[in-house]
């Protein structure tokens, strides 16, 4: 039962959520005076402390739930509140823990930007929305925060709004996310109409209305309402559609590579670590709703996403786009984790991925920062994000190289890193799941293994080209790329530490010892373990990683490059599968044509009708005016003219001479007399 009194952990969580909002308001009010970002940084630091306190109080204990009455529509009362369970406090701490280094990093990275006061305001707004999302106790509040993070992301992608590419990118992100938001809203609507409540604990809790055990295809029987299995599938798919857009799943992933137009610090926080993972968090929250069909769809989509994105990452030249596709690919892994029912492992991968992917982006930001400075200093005509222009940066930026290497190893799933624990756990569980689901299901773990190999390849390609390869542009003159400043390196060092195994487990090679999984596993279903795989898969993955590293070294550092860049497969990867072109051809352009048609109809038919009516009215009024002028007025004027004419004639008789008057009178009398005489006669 929800509590109604604010205990200290609740208060801490509430303040963790509201502090960034206060910072947002304050920064927004101060406007250009808030350039240094102290307010935002103080707020997020306090949030981290509060979140940490809440975490220590709640983790491993019974969930705390508080509710207040929000509003009532008809008979349905809506509540607002906080739900602090293991998942929520974990995310709460994670978001703060990622956001704080990014804030610090931003001080140096965004220094001197003319719009930096907006930057701090947007960043605080995002933190508020994201923290609100993870502690929301009902789907409606979650949806509001879901939209708010999307909005903050939109603002930050278009932060440099004078660049056309940024404007196009944030428009694209917004529109693609709308498609997903419709799904989320539909899911909420279906649940509400079936059960009359949106409370997460009431719906999905241990004694919730929707406790569908793993693998059961029976309709859930609820006390207050029922839902048929068909609607259950539809609701599950609707929620998944919501996460497909937000977590950039194929084929709705197209917005994420373009979102790299935003500042790199934003990409690291929003588009790598937190917001895009919100979809995974949502799926974990509403997990009991998914039946077998939906889970299969999720697994398949995740696999396809992981593969497609890893493939597209192979031939990208923009350092941030490679990382963006890498993010999409890893989100696909998490989706598979959800789909095979091991959502605690998916969340674990979310956490480790948040650290190392954020670190990858921050390191890339440091490189771009250095390249940008070199470009401005020496008037070079290069794109600072293009890896073809880099090379040999290892000597210029040794610390950035170290952090990036750690993050890359974590991404590749190398032993002693956090990525090794989570990614190989996902792989192993995928095999275990496939063993239960028949022959065809083995395709999914096999594809994931291939994706894992591709991942190693593209990240080592990136490392080789940026840090080891022969310098291309930089070799010609004595250009020195400076190492990033202390404000940037400190957050990177912190995240590099978090990307290693010690904060998750004492046993670097065994994911079974991870405390984080033990915290979540009590609620999560488990698969029958296949012991040999736990050794075989990580060993093979590590071996593959080493092979790929060697291959990348041979191809890109030693110059034995064997691939024709004109090949179909190469171009398919470089042009991101021509998906953008496909969408442009089948959706955007027909839509534009339809809009133009509608515009034409609007102009010629609708406006034409109105203009026609106006013209008809004008003509009618013209006729009426003519009638008025010539007939009505004419009649009046005729009377006037007649009177005037008569007067004009008769005035001649008014001579003013008395004698003439008398003569006239006499004459008239005479006529009358004569008339009478003759009339009588």
């Amino acid at each position: 039962m929800p509590a109604y009194t604010l205990t200290y952990p609740l208060l801490a969580a509430l303040s963790a959520v509201l502090l960034p909002f206060a910072a947002f308001l304050l920064t927004a009010v101060l406007g250009k005076k808030a350039k240094h970002g102290t307010i935002s940084i103080v707020a997020i630091s306090l949030s981290l402390l509060a979140a940490g306190y809440a975490f220590t109080q709640v983790w491993g204990n019974t969930p705390i739930h508080i509710q207040w009455h929000w509003f009532t529509i008809g008979r349905h009362a809506f509540h607002v509140g906080l739900l602090l369970d293991n998942m929520a406090v974990l995310m709460l701490v994670l978001v703060c823990l990622i956001a704080l280094p990014v804030h610090c990093y931003s001080i140096a990275y965004m220094r001197g930007d003319p719009g930096i006061h907006r930057y701090w305001a947007y960043l605080s707004l995002f933190c508020f929305a994201m923290l609100g999302l993870v502690v929301a106790d009902n789907l409606l509040l979650m949806y509001i925060c879901w939209e708010l993070v999307g909005f903050a992301s939109y603002l930050l992608i278009g932060f440099w709004y004078t660049r056309d590419a940024a404007v196009q990118a944030n428009k694209k992100a917004f529109i693609v996310n709308r498609i997903g938001d419709i799904g989320f809203l539909l899911g909420i609507a279906i649940l509400h109409s079936s059960f009359g409540t949106l409370d997460i604990q009431a719906l999905f809790g241990p004694q919730g209305l929707l406790t569908a055990p793993m693998g059961a295809d029976t309709p859930a029987i609820a006390a207050e309402g029922t839902i048929t299995s068909g609607w259950l599938t539809v609701a599950g798919l609707a929620f998944f559609l919501g996460t497909m857009a937000k977590s950039a799943q194929f084929p709705l992933h197209v917005w994420l590579p373009d979102a790299m137009e935003g500042p790199t610090s934003v990409s690291s926080l929003i588009h790598a670590a937190t917001m895009v993972a919100a979809g995974v968090f949502l799926l974990a929250r509403v997990f009991p709703i998914f039946d077998d069909t939906t889970l299969l769809v999720i697994t398949t989509t995740g696999t396809v996403t992981a593969f497609a994105a890893a493939y597209f990452a192979l031939a990208q030249y923009d350092i941030k786009k490679i990382l963006a596709f890498s993010t999409i690919s890893q989100l696909g892994f998490m989706m598979v984790g959800i789909g095979i029912g091991m959502y605690h492992v998916a969340l674990f991968h979310l956490v480790t991925h948040a650290f190392f992917k954020c670190l990858l982006f921050l390191s890339a930001g440091a490189i771009i920062h250095g390249m940008q400075h070199a470009k401005e200093k020496h008037q070079l005509d290069i794109d600072p994000q293009d890896i073809r222009h880099m090379g040999g940066l290892r000597r210029h930026m040794p610390l950035t190289f170290t952090t990036m290497l750690i993050a890359s190893l974590a991404l590749a799933g190398f032993p002693f890193t956090a990525g090794y624990l989570s990614k190989d756990a996902l792989l192993v569980h995928a095999f275990e799941w496939a063993a239960l689901h028949g022959e065809a299901a083995i395709a999914i773990p096999l594809v994931l293994v291939i994706v894992s190999i591709l991942t190693s390849f593209y990240i080592f390609r990136l490392l080789a080209k940026v840090f080891f390869a022969r310098p291309s542009v930089l070799a010609n003159n004595d250009i020195h790329i400076h190492e990033a400043s202390r404000w940037m390196l400190a957050p990177m060092a912190f995240l590099a530490f978090c990307s290693l195994f010690p904060i998750f487990t004492f046993h670097p090679l065994n994911d079974g010892q991870v405390w984080l999984l033990h915290g979540l596993v009590a609620e999560a279903p488990t698969l029958p373990p296949l012991r040999p795989l736990h050794i075989l898969v990580p060993a093979l993955a590590t071996a593959a990683t080493l092979v790929m590293a060697t291959l990348a070294w041979r191809w890109y550092v030693n110059g034995h490059y064997p691939i024709r860049t004109k090949g179909v497969l190469y171009r398919l990867s470089e042009r991101q599968g021509y998906l953008n072109e496909l969408y442009d051809a089948i959706i955007v352009r027909p839509l534009l044509k339809l809009s133009l048609l509608l515009l034409w109809i609007d102009h010629h038919v609708v406006d034409g009708a109105i203009n026609g009516m106006a013209t008809a009215g004008r003509s009618l009024a013209g006729i009426a005016a003519w009638i008025d002028y010539h007939l009505v007025d004419g009649l009046i004027r005729l009377v006037g003219n007649l009177a005037w004419g008569a007067g004009h004639v008769l005035r001649r008789s008014q001579t003013g001479r008395v004698q003439q008057y008398v003569a006239l009178v006499f004459f008239i009398v005479l006529v009358i007399l004569l008339y009478h005489i003759f009339a009588q006669a």
Binding site: R651, G656, V658, Q659, F666
Partner: protein
């Protein structure tokens, strides 16, 4: 034998003379004289027809009444002429044409 017709002829002559004077004289006083002549023509007629009212002498009485009335009219008309003269320095009716439009 003097018959009614003689009287009426005399009256008509008098009236015509008066009318002529009224219409043609260039002097307001003579116009006034013309008016008096016309009144007197009427009085002659009254007296002449008064023969046929032997009991009450209505014609004679009415003649007397008309004479008095004429005298009063003359008084008023003379006053008007006097004022007109004061104003216009003329008694020619043709000069007094303020009523012309």
């Amino acid at each position: 034998m003097i018959t009614l017709t003689h009287f009426l002829v005399v009256g008509a002559c008098l009236f015509s003379t008066g009318l002529y004077a009224v219409l043609s004289r260039r002097n307001a006083l003579l116009v006034l004289v013309g008016i008096e002549l016309m009144i007197n023509a009427a009085i002659v007629n009254l007296v002449a027809f008064g023969r046929y009212d032997k009991s009450l002498y209505g014609g004679q009485v009415f003649a007397l009444f008309a004479i008095v009335l004429a005298a009063a009219a003359v008084a008023v008309a003379l006053a008007i002429i006097l004022n007109v003269y004061k104003f216009y320095k003329s008694v020619n009716p043709e000069d007094i044409s303020n009523l012309k439009d």
